[in-house]
Every structure is written in C-alpha cells, then in structure tokens.
Symmetry: C2
Subunit: 229 residues, 2 copies
C-alpha cells in the first residue's frame, strides 16, 4: 500500500494532528480510568497511533497528563468567556434572558466534553497536582466569578436587579441554575437538554424572587448613597 489507498482506514494525518489525537484520547482514558489506571497502550490505540509516538510527543505519562489538563483548561476558559460575552446586559424579558444565558453556560461550558473531562480530572487528581490545579482555579473560576459579578453589578446599576454583593450573587446564580444537576454531575453523567432547561428555569425563578428590584430598606439606602455620591 503506497498511496492513500488505505481501504477503509482514515487518511494519514499530520504531525500536529497526531499530537491533538493523542491529547484527546489521553483525556478520555484518564477520565475513565484515572491517572494510575490509564494505560499508554490504550491511549495510543484510541488515538490511532503507535505507542512510541505517544512517547515522542510527550516524554512520559505525567507530562502527558499535564498537557491534557492545560489543554482542557484553556479550551474551557475560552468557552466560558465567550459565553459570558453573551450575558444579557440590556434584557428585554429578564427572566427569559437569564434562563437562556444559564442554558448556554451549561451546554457550552459545563456539560460538553471538555467541561465534563476537566471537572472529572480536577476531582480525581486535584490533590496530587496542587500547583497545576491552583493555576486552573485562578484562571477559571476566579476570573469567571469576577466577570459574571461585573455583569450582575451592571444589571443592578441599570436598575434591573437589587443586589448587595455582586460576587455572592454571581456564585449563587451559578449554584441555583445547577441545583438539580449536581447528582448527575457527581456521577459523571450528562443531563438531558430538558433537565438543563428545567434546572435553569427553576434556578432563575428563585434568583429573581430574591434579587428583583423591589422596595427594601437596603436598596433604598443604596440608592440614597448613590444619589448623594
């Protein structure tokens, strides 16, 4: 067999494409079997390369693992910030808009392949690579919460919500819209589209019961403070 006449196999892939194949396959195997249980032969087989190629690209199992986590972290963060960019700054129907945002967040960042894999690796191996996951913590949740808090602060400032502490509100928003998916996430499952929508709907409903603009001593004081500033 000289040319791409390979009967029913995939056509040959470039150097870089193989690197990606290996990291992707490794992510899958590390997630299913854990670091200790992951088998380099299996990773190579799932990536469709020889074992030596795995060792050529990544010196050893540990460096491969680190590459996998960095890769997943980067892609997940990109997805999260792309989704935060769709936050409804000037909502028409604030309830519907926040539900839509929550569903996007779930679908594109938390329930997708990268999100599930990264979460699993953090849970399973987080304690063994403190510096690696500390880095993730700063770049990921840390910045996510800040960015989200800023958006909620803007909504509050524009008079759509009544929020004392935007950072707390941002974390509670995420907790509420995921409240009904926790167990599924814990067991590594993928919630259905309907479950995601249901949880987001219930969560946003409660969030707005707590934070929609309404007369209260706190908000009155805040407005007075803003007015006098």
């Amino acid at each position: 067999m000289k040319l791409g006449v390979s009967p029913d196999i995939f056509p040959p892939r470039s150097h870089e494409a193989k690197r990606v194949s290996v990291v992707d396959a490794a992510a899958s195997v590390f997630c299913r079997q854990g670091f200790a249980g992951a088998n380099i032969d299996l990773i190579a087989a799932e990536a469709g390369v020889s074992r030596q190629t795995v060792y050529n690209h990544h010196r050893d199992k540990e460096k491969l693992f680190v590459a996998v986590v960095r890769d997943l972290t980067e892609r997940c963060n990109a997805g999260i910030f792309a989704t935060i960019a769709t936050f409804p700054d000037q909502p028409g129907d604030i309830e519907a808009d926040l539900i839509g945002f929550a569903v996007r967040m779930n679908r594109n960042c938390i329930c997708n392949r990268d999100g599930r894999f990264l979460r699993k690796l953090i849970q399973a191996e987080g304690e063994r690579y403190p510096e690696l996951f500390a880095e993730w913590r700063e770049q990921g949740p840390g910045r996510t919460w800040s960015a989200l808090a800023a958006r909620f602060a803007r909504l509050a400032y524009a008079g759509h919500l009544s929020i004392d502490d935007p950072d707390v509100a941002a974390r509670q928003f995420l907790a509420l819209v995921n409240a009904e998916l926790q167990i599924t996430f814990m067991l590594g499952g993928v919630p259905t589209e309907n479950e995601v929508l249901q949880s987001a709907t219930n969560g946003v409903h409660t969030f707005l019961r707590a934070f929609s603009k309404r007369p209260s001593t706190a908000s009155v004081k805040k407005q007075a403070a803003l007015a006098s500033a």
Copy 2:
C-alpha cells in the same frame, strides 16, 4: 487498663476492630490514589495489619472497595438523617435557625471524613460501579431531598415561608448554602469553619429573600415587569 501490657504500642485489637481498621485505611487510600492506584500493601500498613489479614477479611481488592463504599454510605446516611431531625420546625428566629441547620449539615455530613471520602469515591469511580452508586443515589440524595422537602413544606404550611414546590426549594436550599464551597469541595479540600458559616449565612439570606412570606407573588411579578420595562 487491665490487659494493656503492650509496652508503647497500641493494645492488641479484636477481630472486628481489625476489620474496621482495614476498611478505614482502605477508604483513605482509595480516596488518595483512586481504585487502580491503591496499593493493598499500603492499606495493610496504614491499618496496622499484615497484608494477609486484608485478604482474610475481604476476598480481593474489588470486594474491599465495595465494602468501603457500603460502609461510608451507611454512616453518611445515618448522619444526614440525624441532622435532618434537628431541622427547625418551630423557628424562633428563622434566619438564625436555618443558618444553624445548614452549618450542622455541612459540618456533620458533608465536610466530615466520611462525607468527603464518599463524595470523592462517587466522583472518581461512580461510572465503573453503576449498580453500587445507583443504590447510594436512591438511599442518599433521593431520601435526603424528600425528607428535607417535607420539612420545608411544613414550614410553609405553618406560615413561615412561601414555597411553590418544596422539592425544588429543598434542592435550592442545599445549593445556596454550599454555593461558596463548591471549588473547595471539587479539589477535595476542607473549608474552614468560617467559610462554612459565611456560605451558609449568605445562602440562607438569599433563600429567605426568595421564600419568606411576603405580600403576594403577584405583586412581585408586577414589580419585576415594571422594572424590566
């Protein structure tokens, strides 16, 4: 101390005591290293018994693992239901009482040794033992949520809260009071007493903003509509 002639070592332990030692040590090692990475020699050493004793009590590694999970599940469930029994049915200061309940729940069931270990094992190995963890899901979260929902329903019926769906409210209560501890839990850490209190305080505060008895849902919706207009 009648029999304790052992010079500076712990006194000899009974057959049953060794069984417990082994299961406890196994829980710790399985959590730190994962199932595949766990080493029977290490478990035996941490339990202070010989390796053969481990094999005498539990036929093999897999049966030992199952014994560990069943043990943790049982103890955790006992703790959870004992704590739910302290739910404030006739609250004096409902905010303070719910915060107290949330802190007890966290300290006695979620952050303690058994809770952390069980959570970790579920996350890491849940997919590999579907029937084992399906059992946990029914006996644990399933019954926890029902029991908690019943308590919230009673509070609502007694006029202390305004709740549409007690099941949803129960899940959201747990999500809110844990909102600020998620990342610590994910990385396997133990939040400080202060962090637990802070998260519970913020969570209960928001929960009560959403669910405390107030004029009527209709007027709130009206205000929300006005605010978004």
